[in-house]
Structures are given as C-alpha cells and as structure tokens.
C-alpha cells in the first residue's frame, strides 16, 4: 500500500507520514443500550469502496483530519480539517 495524502496544513506527503484513525463512526447522541454501545465501540462497516476516515499527520504537524478514500484503489477524493469537511452522514460530533 502506498499513496499520497494531502495534509490540510502541510500539503501532499507519503502515506507513511500519517497515522490511520479508522473510518468515521457515529457517536450516539443519547445513552445507548448495551447492544448499541457494543456496535459503536467494536463494529465497523469495513466498506469496499469510498469511505470517510480519520488520519493524523503523525510525522508532521500532528493535525487530525478527514479524508474520503476509495479503499479498493486508494484514490483519495479529498482531505480536510473536520470543521472544513464537506457535510456528509457519519458525523462523530457528540
């Protein structure tokens, strides 16, 4: 696996500069049941296709940001700071 990612602060860098934070999940707004909590903590969609995910510029400015990437081709559609990201489902805000 190897591709470039664009850090919103630093610009394009090798993916090895970054830490992967997993797909964006939705934090329940209300107290979840045990089952819902379990699903939120442990289950992921693991899509073969375009997904919104977290990355951290680990070897750089250490900013966490969002990216939309096709997991099959590693084509990255966009990257953005969370407050500047295009609106979409799967917002994690509490």
């Amino acid at each position: 696996m190897s591709f470039l990612l664009t850090c919103p602060n630093c610009g394009p860098r090798e993916v090895t500069d970054f830490g992967f934070g997993g797909e964006v999940t939705s934090r329940p707004a209300e107290r979840p049941s045990r089952r819902e909590l379990n699903a939120y903590v442990y289950f992921r969609d693991n899509v073969a296709g375009v997904q919104r995910e977290w990355w951290q510029h680990r070897s750089g400015c250490r900013q966490w940001f969002l990216a939309e990437r096709d997991t099959r081709t590693n084509v990255v559609a966009w990257t953005a700071r969370p407050d500047e990201a295009p609106a979409a489902g799967g917002d994690r805000s509490a």
């Binding site: 696996m1 190897s2 591709f3 470039l4 090798e14 830490g19 934070g21 934090r27 329940p28 107290r31 979840p32 045990r34 909590l37 939120y40 903590v41 442990y42 977290w54 951290q56 680990r58 070897s59 250490r62 900013q63 966490w64 940001f65 590693n74 700071r81 969370p82 407050d83 994690r92 805000s93 509490a94």
Partner: protein
C-alpha cells in the same frame, strides 16, 4: 586464458587489472569485469551446485538474471555473480556444495534422485511419524536454502537508507528505448528518473554493436539532468510507488507517469542435459564476448527458434569463436537476412531441427541435433557434434512483471511464442522490446521438451528449483493440473530468478500434459520483488530513535543498572534497591522520571476538553492545583493514568505513563478535532525533564535550594508552583508518587543535570525504578499495563472513586461505565501479603475452590515492612480484608491474605504532612 582480442565497445579496462579470491584461489580480471566474466576468463565453468540434486551448474544468462551463479561475496550470501562487478580484494565463495564445488557429497542426491526424490517427496515422506518431525526438520533445514548468513550479528548488519524521490516521469529500463523516452521528456522540461539493472545504461545495444549510440544517449540524458540510477532494479509496483533498489539505498520513486522499457529475456530450451555447464542462452554467450571479451567456449553449437539466435551465432563467430553448427527449428530458418548471412559464412545450418540431447561429464561435450515433431520427439536423422558451448535461443519473453503488477494485461502471441503486452494501464507507456519492437521473422514454437527418445538425462524446466519436465508431468497426473497448482506442488518458478526462465517452459509442459493451449494455461501471478533483495535493504533505517533521559550519563556514572523500558533507557537501580527504598522512607531520595509523558493542553476550551476525556472533573481545578486522573476508552477500559495540573485558566499540564505519551496525545488531539473544541495539545515529553524528590527530609532539601516557601501551609499536597530551584526554573508538583512527602520537579531538559546534581549534593539519594515499584506497591498504586489489561475498568481496579457518574458532563467511556456499574464486577484487583513470606512470581495463578480464578500482577518484598506484598486479581467475593487466598506458582502453593487498604500510610497522613 579465455580472453579474446579487444572487442569494440568492451566494458573492461585492460589498463586496470584486479585480483580477487574465489574459494581461496586467486582470480585475475579487469576493472569492468563481473565476477562471472573473470571466472570464465580464468577457464572455470562450474560455478555452483544446484538446489536439490547438487548438479554442477555454469553460467546461463550472463546478465544478472539467473540463479546459476549465486555466490557469497564478502560474507553476503545470494549475490548474483553475473551482475556483480568484480572488485579488487573481494572474497567470493561458492554456495550449496560441500566439501568443495568440484567434489560435492550431496551429488548423491542426483545419482539416486530420479527414483528416490520424485516431486512431492518431502510432503509425503516427512509427515510420518509425526513425532519425528523435529528431527526431520533439523536435517532438512540444514539441506535447504542457499548460502549462510554470517554467524555474528555485527557481520550481518549494514546501513541502509530510504530515499523518497518524486519526479514527473520514471523510466524503468535504460536500453535505447528507455534512454530515448527519458531524453524526450527531459527536453520538454520534465524531471526524469531512469533506472537500469546493469552497471551502465544501454541495454542490449551495448552488446549488439550499437554501443557508441547507447553511450552517447546516456551522456545526453545525464546532460539534460535525467537522474540515471544504475545497478538499480525496480522491485515492484505498490499503488504507483516503485521501490528501486540500489546497493545500500532503496529509492522510493513516485511519479504520475511511467515508461516501461524493461526489455525482453531470452528463454531457454528444454531437452535432456539442458542444465550442463556450457549450455547457455545465446544472448549470454554473446554478452560475455562483447562486453568482457571472454570466449564462452571454443567450439559452439547454436540451437534457435528465432532470428536472435542466428544473429548471436554470427556475432560469436565474428568474435573468434568457431560455430560448428546451427539448428533452427523453423523449416525456412526465418527466410530472411540472418539465415543468408549464416549460409554465406559457411556455417552448417540445420533447418527444422533442434537440440535433442546434450551430454558430457560435468560440462557439455557432445550435442545431438535432429528434426522433431510437434511432440518434441526426434523424427529424422540425428547429427552429433562435439562442442564445449551450446548456445540456445528459445524466443524473447518481454519482461512483463512490473506492467502486470500495475494492472496491465498480457496475452499469448503465437508470432513470438511468448506472452505479449495486451493492455497498458493509464499513465503508463511501454517501449522497446517490451512493446514488441525489434522482433524479426516469426519464431517457431519450441516443444515442451525436445528429445532423441533415448532414456536417461534430466530435462529441466526450472534450474533454480531443480524441477524437471517429469516432475511437472507427475504433478499434473496427480491432479495438480493448473499452472498455479503445479507451481505450488513442484515449486517450479518459485526460485531466486522468479520464474523468468521457467514460467514459459513449465507452462508448455502443463499445456502438453493437459491438452490445453498456452493462452488458457496462462501465466502465474507476477509478484514483487522482481529480483531477490536483502531484507536489510527493505528494512531501511529505524525511524524511531531509542530515547534516553537528559540525565542518562549521570545514571551511568552512578553505576545504574540500565534497562530498556519501551523506547526509554531507564535506571532500574543503583546497585542496592533495598537500601535505596529504605533511604526514601527514612531520609530522602530522588528518581529521574523524565520518561513520563508531559503534555500541554491549552485554549479556552481546554477544561471542557479534559472534562470530556476523564471520568472525573478537571474544569473545576483551580490554577495551581493538581488532580489524579485515569483515562478510559469508550469501552470504559483504562488506557492511561497520570496527573493533571491547571497552570492558569486556559492551560493544563498533563502527565502520562512512560509508554503512554504518544497515544494520549493522539487521543486528546483526535477528540479535540472530533468535537472541534478551541484547545490544542502539545507534547513536551522530550523537552522537559522531571525528577521526583521524596522522603521525610525532602521538604528540608527543597527549601535549602529555593526561595519559595515550601511549608505544608504554603505548598500543600496536590499543589503546584513555579519556582527557581538551584538556579533552574522549575514547576513543582507536590504529589504522592512513592507515598512519602514528594515533589515532582519539571524543568527544561537542558538544565536537568545541574538540578539533579544540586539535589544529590543536598543529600537526596538516587533511587531507581525497582525501589520505586516497591514503594508504590506499598501504597497499592496500580501500574497501568502491569496490573491492568485491556479488560480493566477503573471500577474493578479499585479506582472507582475517580469515576464521577454524577457529573453533568458527558465523557469518553461514560456509557460503558454506567452499564458496568449496574452489575457487580466478577474480578477485582486487591492487595495481598503472604504470611509465610514466600514471593510469588508475577503471573502466578490465584486459586479459588481449586480452580484458577485470577492472577498475581505485582509482587515484591518490602524491606521497610519486612514482608511480601503484592497485587492480584481475585474473584469479587474474595475482595475483603483478610480473606484467604491460595496462589499456585510453578508447582508450589502459597497461602496469602487479602488486603484492601494500602500497606503503608493507609490514610495518607504521611503524604499530606
């Protein structure tokens, strides 16, 4: 000597002779020689012993692609002798033969091998009886593999570098096509990298007489700023990144566009005796003559299916080698120019014939040429020739590996009897022989195996792995009837040359045995790396440096027992852990805690951010106050612990465990980004040193070094102040680290030394990690990661007081902890003592009603309390003062008693005094 008269365009520099050692013997050569060309020039023909049958093998390809000349060079195994330049004084040794290359006792495997070592022999033989496998394994391990790594670690280590290279265009292959493409792109202003496997760019043009043109193009490319990497194979395709291995450097080249000019590799022919030393690819023989002025033989016979073989034969003849006969499988010998030249030169040309047997003792001495039918059997009169070189040409297979890895497609092309490019991915172009340029008249398809029909003589489809035609036929007969299956069963194409000379030959055997055509049989998957590469070159240099405290040199001067704890070098003790622990409790001690994570969380929302991250309240802290906190995951599990100190309204100073700094910083940063709170986290760990001064006399020592009022009234428990101590600006955190009155002093790393020295001079005795563990265990302080695991919540670890479920603020892990609070925990962490004084091993099993029900996580002998103390996970019903425990430890059973309160100063009176 087999050195020819000077050849036009030769690479060797006759003015610069050199010598090196081969198996202890002196070998002479010239600058520009490869190991193999120098060995050939000295008359040596047997270069290696084969993998399985230990048959003698000589050179095959002459260009660094085959596995016939793998040597150990200066202690490094697996070096390809036909690509590796000869260097003055180098030490070259053979591999896979004992006691010597000439006399190899394992040759017995070949003599008996036909009957006793059929394909699948190992799988079928060494599984019974199962219990003998360890014995089998020992023997097989010794027999398997090629070469040996040096025994001593230091001799195995070498420095390697990664280099990232971004350019506009990467050209793979430096033949005329690659050079031309690079020049054209560079002329248009592109930043171009060109890599080539050979010692100089030019490719086949260096051999076929166009050397001046090739060298002029290479000079032109360099002049235009093309970065030309030589002896630098492109290893593979990784989502657009192409690692190019060049000696000690791995260039990671990324470009939006690629030109593949990887050329084509001549294929061998399959017939009995086709592995004898002296049987070479005609291109390899010609390369030896053209580049190194080495005669690959005196009397040559050439067997070909295409024009390339005829051209090579003519070139050999021109170089002064007698060509006694040529067999061209094509009935019309291509019908073109090359055949006419051959006839004009008076070389006997057998049309429609091929090589059906080679024989000789440890080298080729006789060959038999005959016309053959489509099944490969001789159909007409055979002719025998005496020779010492058999040059074969089985068609040109374009080097597709990189193209296929990048998503390209290949299809069988009957015109060339090989697989050709059918589809090129976007952003990529193919050029030169890879694209089918320069092909002459149509070639004849070689039979799967040509034979004179006589018994005896192995015909190999894979020289690396010693796989014969018969082996592949057996595999098909046993049901492994697809190429991928027979590959796995016979290991054909799995050797060091990656199938580049065995894919097509083995596919032909499978096609013949199954009755399918070659297009249907197909190719096996092309996988990186293209060439064998030392793991060290891929490993590169470790990016994470081992970390040392700024006080590290002082610990060494004090005779500390140093050990690695995660990334950090830490002082475990200074020779007397018991004495050090007692000193802290009776007088004063100081420990280097610079390894603790130190984070600054700053911003208008910093308090709210921390409230959402810790189960207790942090925003209510007043400036100058400290609170202990344990961080949990969304699953309610403990991830780290430390102290939080509020420096001012918008600034918090957070400490973490030694190993937890990075993870906690990442977690805080991630939640900050998620919630978009106005706060920032900065990791100060390595810029700030810290030392903990503790003991009854700690206050007195500190007061003597600072103007600050250190009285309990002015600087009470869990208070923090900035002050100058012994001239060093520091942040003083009064916390209960080891259970005595204690001050954690944080200062700039560069000034840690003077501060430490002042504390030691004032009477604080340095103590290490081991006494610290005893002291903290006396207080039942939990070590995250030692006493907790990924299932531990603050509640069952006895830290329930830190969880404020009544707090109005939502926090990470709250829901899980709320659910957990609804039912009593199964297991809890408690303290214990052993009345008999035994010291159980950490990890020993706690028994309850005769079954394993928990484990010991920490156990030490306390010199102050003069008894054994520890922490253990026990069933909840045993978590009461004085409950009896039974601990099973390596065969002995130890009686223990539960303690739920700290062993020392349970009410914290000492701590707060």
């Amino acid at each position: 000597m087999m050195r020819l008269a000077p050849q036009a365009g030769e690479r060797i520099d006759r003015a610069r002779p050199l010598t090196f050692a081969f198996d202890g013997r002196r070998v002479e050569g010239f600058a520009g020689d490869t190991i193999v060309s120098a060995l050939y020039a000295s008359g040596r023909r047997v270069l290696s012993r084969s993998f399985k049958y230990h048959r003698p093998r000589g050179e095959l390809c002459g260009c660094g692609q085959c596995a016939n000349s793998l040597f150990t060079v200066d202690g490094r195994p697996g070096v390809r002798g036909c690509g590796e330049p000869a260097r003055e004084g180098m030490v070259v040794e053979h591999q896979n033969a004992w006691p010597s290359l000439e006399r190899d006792v394992m040759r017995i495997a070949d003599r008996v091998g036909g009957a006793l070592l059929p394909v699948g022999f190992y799988y079928k033989t060494f599984i019974r009886p199962r219990r003998l496998w360890p014995v089998y394994e020992k023997v097989l391990r010794h027999a398997a593999g090629l070469g040996r790594l040096p025994k001593r670690q230091a001799e195995r280590e070498w420095r390697t570098e990664y280099r990232r290279r971004h350019c506009d265009l990467l050209v793979v292959g430096g033949g005329l096509a690659g050079l031309t493409a690079a020049i054209e792109a560079a002329e248009r202003g592109a930043d171009v990298v060109l890599c080539d496997e050979d010692a100089e760019p030019g490719g086949w043009a260096l051999v076929d007489g166009r050397h001046d043109e090739a060298r002029a193009l290479a000079a032109r490319a360099r002049e235009l700023g093309v970065e030309v990497l030589t002896r630098a194979p492109a290893l593979g395709w990784f989502d657009g990144l192409v690692p190019v291995w060049q000696g000690d450097t791995l260039h990671q080249v990324r470009a939006p566009r690629h030109v593949l000019a990887t050329g084509a590799l001549q294929q061998p022919l399959v017939f009995p005796g086709n592995d004898l030393p002296g049987v070479m690819l005609s291109s390899g023989a010609r390369r030896l003559a053209a580049l190194y002025a080495v005669a690959p033989g005196r009397r040559a016979v050439v067997a070909t299916v295409d024009d390339a073989g005829l051209q090579d034969a003519l070139a050999l003849r021109l170089a002064g080698i007698e060509v006694v006969a040529i067999a061209d499988l094509r009935p019309d010998a291509g019908g073109g120019g090359p055949a006419a030249y051959v006839e004009a030169a008076g070389i006997p040309l057998l049309r429609g014939a091929t090589i059906v047997r080679a024989s000789g003792r440890d080298r080729v001495q006789h060959v038999t040429l005959a016309p053959v039918g489509p099944d490969g059997r001789a159909t007409g009169a055979a002719e025998d020739f005496a020779c010492d070189l058999l040059a074969v040409s089985g068609g040109l297979q374009p080097s597709l590996s990189l193209l296929l890895q990048a998503g390209g497609r290949a299809a069988y092309d009957p015109q060339s009897a090989c697989f050709a490019v059918a589809e090129v991915p976007a952003g990529m172009a193919v050029a030169g022989a890879l694209a089918g340029e320069g092909a002459g008249a149509p070639v004849a398809t070689p039979p799967a195996c040509a034979t004179d029909g006589r018994r005896g003589g192995k015909a190999f489809v894979d020289l690396d792995e010693d796989v014969t035609v018969k082996d592949v036929e057996h595999a098909v007969a046993e049901g492994y009837d697809s190429l991928e299956l027979s590959k796995r069963y016979t290991t054909v194409t799995m050797g060091p040359s990656q199938g580049r000379f065995s894919q097509i030959p083995s596919a032909r055997v499978v096609a013949r045995a199954t009755g399918l055509d070659l297009e249907t049989v197909g190719l096996t998957t092309a996988r990186p790396p293209w060439t064998t590469v030392p793991l060290g070159a891929l490993a590169g240099r470790p990016l994470e440096a081992a970390k040392r405290s700024p006080l590290d040199a002082r610990h060494r001067d004090l005779g500390a027992t140093g050990r690695w704890a995660g990334d950090w070098r830490r002082a475990y003790d200074y020779g007397d852990p018991e004495g050090e622990a007692l000193a802290v409790q009776s007088d004063a001690g100081v420990i280097d805690v610079s390894t603790l994570g130190k984070l600054l969380v700053r911003g208008p929302d910093a308090g709210e951010l921390l409230d959402r991250l810790y189960p207790n309240r942090m925003s209510t802290l007043k400036p100058g106050r400290i609170r202990y906190g344990v961080m949990t995951s969304e699953a309610g599990r403990i991830v780290d612990d430390g102290t939080v100190c509020r420096l001012d309204d918008e600034t918090f100073y957070v400490t973490t465990t030694t190993g937890g700094a990075t993870a906690v910083e990442q977690t805080i940063g991630w939640w900050q980004a998620t919630w978009n709170l106005d706060a920032r986290v900065t990791d100060l760990t390595q810029g700030v040193a810290a030392m903990n001064l503790a003991g009854p006399r700690a206050r007195e020592i500190l007061s003597g070094l600072t103007d600050l009022d250190c009285s309990n009234e002015a600087l009470g428990y869990l208070n923090a102040r900035h002050a100058t101590i012994a001239g060093v600006p520091a942040l003083i955190l009064r916390i209960g680290f080891v259970g005595e009155v204690g001050y954690e002093l944080h200062c700039p790393a560069a000034q840690a030394g003077p501060l430490w020295d002042a504390l030691v001079a004032a009477g604080a005795r340095p103590f290490g990690l081991e006494p610290q563990r005893v002291l903290r265990l006396q207080k039942l302080h939990v070590i995250v990661g030692q006493d907790t695991d990924s299932e531990t919540t603050p509640v069952n670890a006895g830290l329930g007081a830190l969880v404020k479920l009544d707090k109005e603020q939502d926090f990470v892990g709250r829901w899980a902890l709320e659910h957990a609070a609804e039912q009593a925990p199964d297991a809890v962490l408690v303290g214990f003592t052993t009345p008999g004084g035994e010291l159980p091993t950490e990890g020993a099993v706690v028994l309850h009603e005769g079954v394993a029900a928990g484990q010991v996580t920490s156990a030490r002998r306390s010199p102050k309390l003069e008894r054994t103390i520890g922490l253990a996970w026990v069933p909840a019903e045993l978590a009461q003062e004085d409950a009896a425990l039974s601990i099973s430890d390596a065969g002995r059973t130890i009686a223990a008693t539960v303690t739920t309160r700290p062993f020392y100063d349970p009410d914290g009176e000492v701590l707060r005094s």
